[in-house]
């Protein structure tokens, strides 16, 4: 009974072409309120929606004294507001069947709720309360200290996080970007050493950073933009837009230092190594070629079934010689700087080889990358950009981050056009600009005796034959 399917004239043809679907994607609408708060939404027609507040504040705005405040505040956010106690708040959220979450990163903080589309008004009301009138009671603060310390302890066993945190710490040493989001243990500690957080610190943080021009109310799903703007006006018009004493926190550039940090522990089974150079900022035109470059290098882990036939050259070599358990090319971009790197996990006898071939992949990008590699990278990047928008929450997150970074949502059609403009010579030029003969930041965690010496790593950032 599969005959009719086989005989169908449209078998193998999508009903809409890729280009058509790109242009047909629902538009993201953006409105600004009087106090500067921006409201952006995409109506995807789903029955559910994700709505949240994206704030331009993070660990980069903290200093040595109060590093970890944003993270602690995130913990305190859902512990009760002036109108609802913690139990009341939880009950409101649970009764809607909604999920309330938050995250803090180096430059952004987000509080968002996933709920049914019809519950949008309630969701916006609760979110606005959480952000504007968090109760921050003392007993709860004391209790959360333990939670934060436990989370710090838990993160110690996530060596990928440790590795990438240390990468930032060494690459941006002496600057606010080098600070970890979670802050040092002294911040959350109960021991009053003058370094630990008090309620006053949290209040100050909110006063300084939670300002309307730095906030975006983003929503995706079955949401009506007008309705959302109306809700924002009624709940969030009160968000302040003035700074005390007109002192506006301005981000200064962060110096990148080529350096390395090695946390050797031979008792660990696997070594986690990351190497990165200073990359492009989020708003730089070079970000797209660099993303294509990362797609050319790709990623790999032991669960990949392609074996020796994976398309990424580095992956093929890794499989044939069993060089690593996993690797990925990554790119973190911030408002005026970024990190472009490769992270890999390997056993202690293959670190040197894996590092050599990773840098070889970089050199290949700078010098001899071919049209077929670039075509593959472009396609992979396009696929991943579209593929990661699978649900209202990723879409909402992208809306929030884009409006904070670029002032608008960059549509897929635009990404596509910029990706198509990447040719092998463009890729070579851009990669040479950021990678060739630059001082990298290197991190090693675990049994890293074999990790190549920094001078040799630095020498592998150029080719004499070139």
């Amino acid at each position: 009974h599969s005959f009719p399917v086989l005989l169908s004239l449209r078998r193998g043809q999508a009903s809409v072409s890729y280009a058509q679907s790109l242009l047909g994607a629902p538009e993201t609408q953006l409105t600004a309120l009087d106090n500067g708060l921006r409201v952006a939404s995409e109506d995807t027609g789903h029955a559910t929606c994700t709505v949240g507040l994206w704030i331009g504040a993070g660990s980069r705005y903290e200093n040595e004294r109060n590093n970890g405040t944003g993270f602690f505040l995130e913990h305190m956010a859902f512990k009760g507001t002036k109108k609802h106690t913690q139990t009341a708040l939880e009950q409101q959220v649970e009764s809607m069947g909604a999920h309330l979450s938050a995250y803090t990163s180096r430059e952004h903080t987000a509080y968002y709720m996933k709920t049914l589309a019809k519950d949008l008004p309630k969701a916006v009301e609760l979110l606005s309360e959480v952000v504007q009138s968090c109760s921050l009671n003392e007993a709860e603060i004391e209790q959360q200290r333990g939670v934060v310390l436990r989370e710090l302890e838990e993160v110690e066993s996530n060596l990928q996080e440790v590795c990438l945190d240390l990468l930032h710490a060494t690459a941006y040493q002496g600057t606010p970007l080098g600070q970890s989001v979670m802050g040092p243990s002294s911040t959350a500690s109960v021991i009053k050493s003058g370094l630990n957080l008090t309620r006053q610190d949290l209040v100050e943080y909110i006063n300084i950073h939670y300002k309307a021009p730095r906030m975006v109310l983003a929503a995706a799903g079955g949401v009506n933009h007008e309705e959302l703007v109306g809700l924002a006006k009624s709940h969030m018009s009160g968000v302040s837009f003035e700074y005390e004493g007109d002192v506006v926190p301005v981000l200064s550039p962060c110096r990148f230092t080529g350096s390395d940090i090695r946390m050797r522990d031979d008792a660990l089974p696997l070594a986690h190594v990351a190497i990165a150079v200073e990359g492009a900022s989020a708003s730089s035109p070079d970000i797209v070629p660099l993303m294509v470059a990362n797609a050319v290098i790709g990623s790999y882990d032991l669960t990949y079934g392609g074996g020796k036939h994976l398309s990424s050259r580095l992956a093929r070599i890794a499989v044939e010689d069993k060089l690593c358990h996993s690797f990925q090319a990554f790119s973190s971009s911030y408002s005026d700087t970024g990190l472009l790197g490769i992270y890999f996990v390997s056993d202690k006898h293959h670190i040197d080889d894996m590092m050599h071939w990773s840098q070889n992949a970089w050199m290949n990008l700078c010098t001899t990358v071919t049209e077929s590699d670039v075509a593959r990278g472009r396609n992979a990047l396009k696929a991943s950009l579209v593929g990661q928008l699978n649900g209202t929450t990723p879409i909402c997150d992208e809306i929030g981050r884009h409006v904070l970074n670029y002032g608008r949502r960059v549509p897929l059609a635009e990404w596509n056009a910029r990706i198509d403009a990447v040719t092998p010579s463009v890729l070579r030029d851009v990669c040479s600009k950021y990678i060739y003969d630059k001082c990298p930041a290197v991190v090693g965690v675990g049994p890293i005796e074999q990790l190549t010496d920094y001078n040799r790593i630095r020498s592998a950032m150029y080719w004499l034959r070139f």
């Binding site: 970890g68 004391e142 209790q143 200290r145 333990g146 310390l149 436990r150 710090l152 302890e153 993160v155 110690e156 440790v162 945190d165 240390l166 710490a169 060494t170 040493q173 002496g174 600057t175 080098g178 970890s180 979670m182 802050g183 040092p184 243990s185 002294s186 500690s189 109960v190 021991i191 050493s193 370094l195 200064s252 550039p253 962060c254 110096r255 990148f256 230092t257 940090i261 946390m263 522990d265 031979d266 008792a267 200073e278 005026d336 700087t337 003969d437 630059k438």
Partner: protein, 257 residues
């Protein structure tokens, strides 16, 4: 150490967490610092320690506690300010480093070349041998008509002060008759002085001066006659006596070699 009083009740839950954290992050090799059983004692000891020292030596509570040291003492001036991007100065810093490296490389190659040359040339002739390579002769010591013999480079050197008659005789000789045709002019710089090596070109004996039928030299071994210009005239020798390189420093000094 009982000066700090803490109420275990409120902070007990977090204390348990930190105690576990504390233990799990002791570096391998560091001694287990606490063996006391009492929780309260442990708590107070920990609190006191944290008062006196921010973190007990040999342990840390989280990777976020690691503080990257301040390397300002070692930084170049362009990258001292953490609020300035390091990209702008990256080219000039690299250029400086590479120039320094390049210059050092050139100097190094030159030094290596010098050392190697010194070792290799040590295998060539030594100074005492080289000293023997030249001989300086005071010509005023040699009267007219007389031939003086010197040891030079291990061989006898004949310096002959010729008379006018000898000079004209030698210059008038028909070259076609000679076994080894050479005009006298070709063999002398100043016709008054003949400088030849006193080794017979036949089998290497030393000819006797002022002997033979041609007013020159006679080799007693096999009877080769040379004239006053050192040319072979009769006998088994095939070639004329060898004329070495020589020059007149002044009228009175002859340097051979």
């Amino acid at each position: 150490m009982m000066s700090t009083v803490t109420r275990p009740g409120v902070i007990l839950p977090y204390y348990r967490a930190t105690r576990n954290t504390f233990k799990s992050l002791v570096f391998p090799g560091a001694m287990e610092l606490f063996t006391v059983a009492g929780k309260a004692e442990l708590l107070i000891y920990q609190c006191c320690l944290s008062f006196l020292f921010p973190a007990p030596a040999g342990t840390r509570l989280a990777h976020t506690d690691i503080k990257i040291p301040d390397f300002s003492d070692y930084r170049r001036p362009e990258v001292l300010d953490p609020r300035k991007s390091s990209q702008d100065s990256s080219d000039t810093r690299k250029a400086f480093s590479y120039m320094l490296t390049g210059a050092t490389a050139v100097v190094g190659v030159y030094a290596a070349k010098t050392v190697v040359t010194q070792f290799v040339t040590s295998m060539s002739a030594s100074a005492d041998v080289l000293a023997l390579s030249k001989i300086e002769i005071k010509l005023s010591d040699i009267p007219e008509g007389k031939n003086m013999t010197f040891k030079w480079r291990g061989k006898p050197l004949f310096v002959r002060h010729r008379t006018e008659k000898e000079i004209s005789t030698e210059e008038a000789v028909n070259i076609g008759e000679l076994r080894d045709p050479q005009h006298d002019k070709e063999r002398v710089i100043n016709p008054k002085w003949v400088v030849v090596i006193g080794v017979c070109t036949h089998l290497g004996c030393v000819p006797i001066a002022n002997a033979g039928d041609f007013g020159g030299y006679y080799c007693p071994c096999h009877g080769s006659h040379y004239d006053a210009s050192g040319r072979i005239r009769r006998g088994p020798a095939p070639l004329n006596l060898e004329v070495p390189y020589y020059e007149f420093l002044d009228d009175n000094t002859l340097v051979v070699g």
